[in-house]
């Protein structure tokens, strides 16, 4: 078991930790998941504009929701980390403004019409996560930075350009290159 510092790599994939919670309300699995994700969610939320206190609060709330909803996680629909990201995002927007966006997200996440370019997807979330991680690890630092600004901060291209002091066209091309590489990884699986 890991201590509260939580930056050691997990012994078990987060998907398995969630399965243990679902199966037997396993508190040590939760503690492991907490140490793995709560501090990272906190960082993510701070980058998205939350104060440190609000981010810590929301990260805990998100993890408690992971506990409560563990049985509705399904590893063939996505990765544990994308599910946890979704839970935190919905809590964040619900807290900012009670509107129907979380309902919209839940709705479109269920749609599974055929993508004409990619008819079948037979790979588990776990395999996905491994490949996305690998693809991300291979991105040049300058591309990864632009990806992080887009995803974590929800920054518009023009804002990113201004902050990093690079031309708008460079932001666009870096993001495009990075996305192409990561999506290629996902597409190659299909």
């Amino acid at each position: 078991m890991h201590g509260p510092s939580g930056d050691a790599p997990a012994d078990q994939a987060p998907e398995e930790l969630i399965a243990r919670i679902a199966l037997s309300q396993d508190k040590s699995a939760f503690a492991e998941l907490f140490d793995l994700f709560a501090p990272r969610l906190k960082y993510f939320l701070i980058r998205n504009g939350s104060t440190s206190e609000a981010a810590e609060e929301l990260a805990q709330e998100a993890l408690l929701k992971v506990w409560r909803k563990a049985k509705s996680f399904s590893a063939d629909r996505g990765t544990a980390s994308s599910w946890i990201f979704t839970i935190a995002r919905n809590l964040r927007i619900d807290q900012a403004r009670r509107d129907k966006r979380a309902q919209l997200y839940a709705m479109v996440a269920e749609f599974d019409d055929v993508d004409p370019d990619r008819p079948d997807e037979l790979v588990s979330g776990y395999e996905h996560a491994r490949l996305v991680r690998a693809a991300m690890g291979e991105l040049p630092a300058e591309q990864l930075e632009v990806v992080k600004c887009s995803f974590m901060e929800g920054a518009a291209h023009s804002e990113i350009a201004e902050r990093l002091g690079i031309p708008l066209g460079t932001v666009k091309s870096r993001l495009r290159l990075a996305m192409r590489k990561m999506k290629k990884t996902l597409e190659d699986l299909a």
């Binding site: 509260p4 510092s5 919670i21 679902a22 309300q25 508190k27 939760f30 503690a31 907490f34 994700f37 709560a38 501090p39 990272r40 969610l41 960082y43 993510f44 440190s52 981010a55 810590e56 805990q60 993890l63 408690l64 506990w67 409560r68 563990a70 509705s72 996505g78 990765t79 980390s81 994308s82 599910w83 946890i84 990201f85 995002r89 403004r97 509107d99 129907k100 966006r101 919209l104 997200y105 709705m107 479109v108 269920e110 749609f111 019409d113 055929v114 997807e121 996560a129 996305v132 991680r133 992080k148 887009s150 995803f151 974590m152 929800g154 518009a156 291209h157 993001l175 990561m182 996902l186």
Partner: protein, 216 residues
Amino acid sequence: MTIVHHPSEETLIAFVNGSLCEGNSLVVATHIAHCGKCQQAIRDLGMIAGGLLEQAEPAPIGKEARTACLSKLDDLPVEDVNAGTQPLRIPAADRAMAPLSLYDSGKWHWVGVGVQQMVVDVPSDTGTRVFVLKAAPGTRLPDHRHVGTEWTCVLKGAFVHDHGRFGAGDFDEADASVDHNPFVEKGEECICLVAMNGHVEMTGWLGRLIQPLVRF
């Protein structure tokens, strides 16, 4: 149905991230409801967001907060999955209109020759107005220029402008750089869901004349 025009990558990322306002989210969600490709794209983007989360630099959580959080588990049951907690599975045929069906809307009223508008009740604090526009076949909308953005998802029929033909499911992301005079294809009326930020300026004498009537 063949969809040609999709939201930009920037827009899809902003949707997944939760940084679009509700009105814009509704129009993007309506496109996604029509489009298998974008349904897959947002799954991929969610996966990438998850990957970034895994690799985020941890911001330490206080020991006491952690202990307090873990102590809550005793009173917090892991919920059983039942029909009440799972989102309803919407049949493919009903998907296209499903996002819009979450909202109330007003009555149709005329806003110009051959053009009717119905306001969708999306409470906004960002100044985005959402409405459905219905234009008769062959209608030529007055020349106009965008100040701000106008996102459109076609629900029925088709319109054509400088950037191509937009049929059912197509998504049109117009901003200040677009100066266009769209027209509705002959044969079928065109119905679109629109989220508008800022306003539209009519160009040409006719447009300026009807602008007070159109008010969008």
